[in-house]
Each structure stands twice: as C-alpha cells, then as structure tokens.
Amino acid sequence: MLRLSEFQESARIAWDSLRVNLLRSILTTAGIVVGVVLVVLMGWTIGGLNAVWEQTISIIGKDMLYIDKWDWTGGRNWRDVESRKDISLQQAALLKSRMESAEYVIPLARKWGGSVVKGNSSLMCSITGTTADYANTSAATTLAGRFFSPTEEHSADRVVVIGHGVYKSLYPDGNAVGSILKINGSPFRIIGVLQKQGFLFMDFIDNQVFIPMMAFRAVHGFFDRSFSVGLKCGSEAMLDIVRTEAIGHMRAIRNVPPDAPDDFSINEMKAFDQQAKNIRIGIWVVGMGLTILAFVVGSIGIMNIMYVSVTERTKEIGIRKAIGARRGSILAQFLIESALLCMAGALIAFPIAQGIVAGARFLAVDVLEQEWASVISPLIPLDLLGIAVVVSIIVGLLAGFLPALRASRLDPVEALRYEQ
C-alpha cells in the first residue's frame, strides 16, 4: 500500500517536474488536447441534437396519434399498404362519434404536392383541410395571428393558416396575416402563421397550409381521397389506451375479419425516434473514431516524454531507492506525473472547446438565423467536463504505465551510478 506521505510526495514531484518543463509539457499534451476537444464537441453535438429533437416532437405533439392509410415509417410492405382501401370521411366521422378516451378527434384531408400562389409567385406545398379542433394541438401554435374558429370552419370560410416554411418562402419581410393566397384558383385570406416545427429531416412539416375542411372540399374535392384522423390523447400516458380503443373501432368500422391484420396504420412521433437515433449513432461513431485516434497519437507522445523524464531522472530514482522508496512509490510518482500531464491537456482543451461551441452556436443562431439552434446550450455541460477529465486521467495512467514501470524496476546501484 502506498502511504499518504508517499502519495503527497509523488504528487509534489510530479507537479514540480511539470512546472520545470512547462513548455515541453504543454507541447506534449497537444494530442490529448485535440482528443478532449473532440470528446467535448461530440457530447455537446449529441446533446444539442437531443434538445432539438425533443423540441420537434414536443411541438408536433408527443400525445398525438394519426390514423392513416399510409405508414409513416414505411416499415410495412408497400404493396399491402397501397392496396388498402381509402379511409373515407364517413369512417372518420364514425370514429369521431365513437371515440371516448381521446381529447380530440380531428379528421384531416391532405393534398400532397399542391401549391399556393401569391401574386406571381407560386410555391409547392401540401394543403390540409381540417376542423377547428386542430387549434387545440400543440402543432397549431401560431407565431402570428390565430387558427381558424369553429364558425369559420362551419361556414367554409376561405381562410388559411400557413406553415413556417411557406411563410419564410413567401413573406421574407414578415406581415403575412391579412394577405391573400390563391389555392387552386380560389383566394384565401391568411389568418395565422404557425411556429417552426420541423428540424433535421422533418423540414417538410413546415411546408404545409391549413384550411377549413369544407373549404378544402370546395377547392380540391373529397373524391378518391383517403382521410387521416388525428387523435389528441392529452398525455403520453394515455397513448396506449387511446391506441387500443381506436384500433377496435377502426377494425369494426372497416369490417376487418378477426384474424386479418389492421388495414390502416396508427402513426406517432415515436416512429421517427429510430431515425433520430441513427443520426446520433452516426455522429457518435465518427466522433469516437476521431477521438480515439487523437488519444492514441496523444498517448504515444505522453509515453515518449515520460520515457525521457524517467531517463533524465535516473539518478534521482537511484537516490530515492537508496533511502527506502519502494517500487510502488516510484511507480506512483511517474503515473501521477503522466496523469497530471493529461489532465493539464484537458484543462487547456476546455476553453478551446467552449470557444468552438460558442462560435458554432453564434454562427447558427445569429449569422445564419437558424432559430431552432437556440435550444442548443451555448455552454459545455459540466458532466461532459467531468467525463473529459476522467478520460484524460485514464489515458495518462495508461500512457505512463510502461515508463513508470521501467522507473520502478531500475536497479538502485545502476541508477545511482548514472551520470547525465
């Protein structure tokens, strides 16, 4: 066992030796600095993605289920899905009348690849007809104006609520509310602009406009159209209950035989979790590869300098052994020195990483005006700093082990005889 006094002595010697060779020590840690910067950046990026993803799914609605002919994930056989019967408005209405556990049952009619025209410019986007209930979902949160009212819904007013993407494309100067858009030739008055919802690969969600169901019928018709039904469950805990009830009703409404699979899909935001996870794994793998490379290069440097340090101090080791230092003391002395070296590298790396993080966020939010990035932390989280310190110490111990072992095994007589 290493005694406390020996440990303190080892730490003191290690510190002294770093101070005396300050420049050399700093240069040696370059590889470790790069490694720690990479670890921190990787952690920060993944953390940032998580935050952005969390925000996306909470805006779109974690408590929402969508009954649809189509499957969002594309997990099912395309032909099977294709051959499903359309979900008719009558079926949607029946479901609405039967559902008990859901807070809101919201039929949706979609025209993919539609377009809106503002003056001379036209923009491809999807047109969604729905009911005023949609206003109660988190996805209907407006940046300006409001969602349409039950009155406007029932009288099939020509009013439109535009998605953030449409707004950005057609109204770069703002002031969309009150302006007129033409949808399939009919003029619609913009009464609201939705806040941004889609990040990462979900951008398409913002490229959408909402109009009252009956106005939709007037411009695009209900013929040959499969409706979706949004179910707002109220909380995530209710998802399973609502899902089970909805499946029961839908199977009954569509006369699905007991042993046949559902001929509809129940979609939810969770379906995209896998894709988000894949992105994270991708970053992690690339980041880890670079980090390990940096640490390997770094630890070769550290090992090298530790061998130099052992050689330079052969005489000192001899003296210490002659007066009673045991192998463990000498081993500890050099292990501590190399761990301290690497820790110094980590300390140098922190301000660098923090600078990069702050710079990247500034670039994204203030220069490129990507508002979504503002949910990403401008500071490196403390736990990442802790992890980086621990990792650097471990790298230091590994890199310093062979040189320290050599030092601890030096023959005292030989070591005392050593002259520089």
Binding site: R3, E6, I323, G324
Partner: protein, 232 residues
C-alpha cells in the same frame, strides 16, 4: 563480543560482461557487531563499493549468505530490501547524492516520507538531525547554495534521521579538502560515540585511523582484518 548486525558468509559477487565474468567479490566472510566503527580499505577495483552496496541492501550477492539482524537478505524481495534501507541503514555517498531541487530540510525529510511519517513529525525530526550536524542555519538552502562540506553534512543528517542500525559511508571525504574531511570524520566519531554502528570506505590512511577496526580488501578478498588500537 557485541551482537552481530551483519553476518556474511562466503559471499560472491560476479558480473557477466558479455562472455567475460568479472568477480567483484570472491568468498568474503565477515561479522560486524553493534556499535563497531569499521574502515574498509583497499586499492581501486578491489570490491569496496560492491561490498558496501551489498551490506546496505542496495545489491544482493550472487552466492553466499547475508544475515542482517538475523534475517536472510538473499530471500527478501525488492520492497523488503527498500524497507530495510529505509529503517535500518543510513547511506552517505562520496558525491553526496542530494536532490538538487530540494532544500536541506526537504532532503533530510525524504527518508521519513518513505517511512510514512506525518508531515509535522518529519519536519521536527529533520530539524533535529540538521541540528546534530550543526546546519540549523542552512535548512532552507538548496544543495547548490551549500559548500561541499555542508552538503555532506546534509547527507549525514539524512542518513541518521531515521535512527538506523548502521551508517554506511562510501568515501565520504573523497570529494572534500583535508580540513573539511576531518570535520566530517569528527561527526562520524560523535555518531559512533553516541552508540551508532559506522562502516566507511576510504583510500586515506589517516581517515582510516579514526576507526576501531580496519578491513583491507584485495581482488575481491579480505586481505586483513585488524583491530586498530591507536585509533584517533
């Protein structure tokens, strides 16, 4: 006869240099008791330093037996040997072998660090040891701020700070002028008179005359082992 601290029998130390064998010690037997004062003499290369390193547990014999305070050194591992060097042996070298960046006080404290003594106790005992070599006024100095004689006195303070059974000195006056050398020899005499066991290697007859017993080596063998009746 006093109790034996050191008892070596038929000790051989052989070095292999390529396919050549060098015998530093050939069949040396020797007993040294408590509170003896021994000088080891002999021509250069006769094996004096090798013998001292062996006695000081810095080195182990190729063959033969070494009992230190009755314990067989040949059977000890590195850490046992380190522990004996720390507690039982005080080494004084010709070239002082102080840590250049540490003060006198820190140098003298060092053996106590490896003995696990608390910081406060270390300082107290190191100050005491430095006082015994009349260096109380040089505790904050580093070796390069001291004269050769003062450095050797720091080294002696370091050797005695753990109150070891024996003090081993390999040509302790070899790097000092005659006057300073005699000051150092007076210190060893005081230590011996205070009850310590002192073994030193020297080339100089008048230095050896301080000792009570003079052992002469030649070619790795004991040539003579006499009691010095007219010791100084």
């Amino acid at each position: 006869m006093s109790t034996a601290i050191i008892d070596i029998e038929h000790v051989v130390k052989r070095y292999e240099m390529g396919d050549e064998e060098v015998y530093a010690l050939r069949d040396v037997s020797l007993t040294i008791g408590s509170n003896e004062y021994v000088a080891i003499m002999g021509p250069s290369g006769s094996g004096k330093s090798t013998l001292m390193n062996m006695l000081g547990c810095l080195d182990t014999p190729t063959s033969g037996k070494y009992l230190f305070n009755g314990a067989n050194v040949a059977e000890m591992n590195d850490d046992d040997l380190a522990s004996i060097r720390n507690k039982e042996i005080g080494f004084v070298f010709q070239t002082f072998n102080l840590l250049p960046r540490a003060t006198s006080l820190k140098n003298v404290e060092l053996p106590l660090v490896y003995a696990g003594v608390s910081a406060e106790e270390r300082t107290r005992r190191a100050q005491e040891a430095l006082a015994r070599v009349q260096l109380s006024d040089r505790m904050g100095h580093k070796p390069n701020e001291l004269s050769g004689g003062q450095r050797q006195r720091v080294a002696i303070a370091r050797a005695i700070v753990t109150a070891p059974s024996i003090i081993l000195a390999d040509e302790p006056t070899g790097n000092l002028d005659t006057k300073t050398g005699h000051d150092i020899m007076n210190l060893f005499r005081d230590l011996w008179k205070a009850g310590n066991t002192v073994i030193l290697v020297t080339h100089e007859e008048d230095i050896a005359q301080h000792a009570r017993r003079i052992i002469r080596l030649r070619d790795g063998r004991i040539e003579s082992d006499i009691t010095n009746h007219n010791h100084a």
